[in-house]
Symmetry: C2
Subunit: 190 residues, 2 copies
């Protein structure tokens, strides 16, 4: 079974779409850009755009993919406290969880509109994409001491939903937002 490679025209168009979308989103804001506009700017038909990315959330997810990979890498293999550090490193779950929340918030606040679209375009979209599963698994592992780490991990991630963070940020500002999340981590790992 030779792995069926991606066809050259497909690869070209995928790159063109991502490039065009990145530019348009930066110039006009994610919300204000229609899928028609992205297709036109990429020199591609609507059908191609949707076949490849499914919907606007899929396009946003694809654009976020690279940055999220970096963060995921750092969590799995990077230095403590975000990552596990080299073998023998001493770091508590609480420290790692705090570091995760900080890092995730940095990531989120840096791409808030994009994440928001990727999470809210379709109902339940957030919970189906691979990234959520990754964050959830990581947090659940760090909450191993709790009665129901899986449920509690969802709870913590609810407070990190783009929609929620966007709304609360406007009212309270970044600092109080960060503070309350630190408080939550502490409350869950005390």
């Amino acid at each position: 079974m030779s792995p069926p490679r991606e066809r050259a025209d497909a690869a070209r168009n995928r790159a063109a779409v991502l490039e065009a979308a990145a530019v348009l989103f930066r110039e006009r804001g994610v919300e204000a850009v229609s899928m028609d506009a992205v297709a036109a700017a990429a020199g591609v038909g609507k059908g191609t755009l949707f076949r490849r990315f499914g919907d606007k959330a899929g396009l946003a997810t694809a654009l976020l993919d690279e940055q999220e990979r970096d963060l995921q890498e750092a969590i799995l293999f990077g230095p403590a406290p975000l990552g596990p550090g080299p073998p023998g490193t001493k770091v508590t779950s609480q420290e790692r969880l705090r570091a995760f929340v900080e890092a995730y918030l940095d990531h989120l606040l840096g791409h808030l509109d994009l994440v928001r679209v990727s999470e809210t375009a379709a109902p339940g979209a957030r919970y189906r994409i691979g990234a959520y599963r990754f964050w959830h698994r990581h947090v659940a592992l760090l909450l191993a001491g709790r009665a129901d780490p899986v449920a509690d991990a969802h709870l913590l991630l609810a407070a990190l939903a783009a929609e929620h963070v966007a709304a609360v940020r406007v009212e309270l500002g970044d600092e109080r937002l960060r503070g309350s999340l630190r408080g939550l981590v502490d409350a869950l790992t005390s």
Copy 2:
């Protein structure tokens, strides 16, 4: 300044729309009903429907209004632990918060699709509607012991967002969902 009363035709149409919407939503599910269908069933033009309710979220909010009023009444004036009870009643903030979360979950799970639409139709819709403000104020008062009750109240309500509850419920079931929320309340009021 005599208060300008609602015109008779307006009142009639408002009632017709709410009635028609309630029936259609029950029969076909909230998601599957278009605004056109609601307007047609109510014997009303699209313009009238949108003028009055703004958008689909507004319509859902109007439908929820009555039930939410009951809950709000019970919180403000009803018997303990959900309400304050008669003067002199002894009830802790933790007890009242637990009761609120239980009662709100009952309400939410009973109208999940409707609440979901009311919260997610427009970006940030959830945080602007009056009901959210009410729940937030109530929770913040009960969290008076915390360093930042306002921020922490948003945190707790994030875990009660319809989108979140709908997704987690499917994975964990109602019991574990309730359990994790009880755990959060305890963690925030310890």
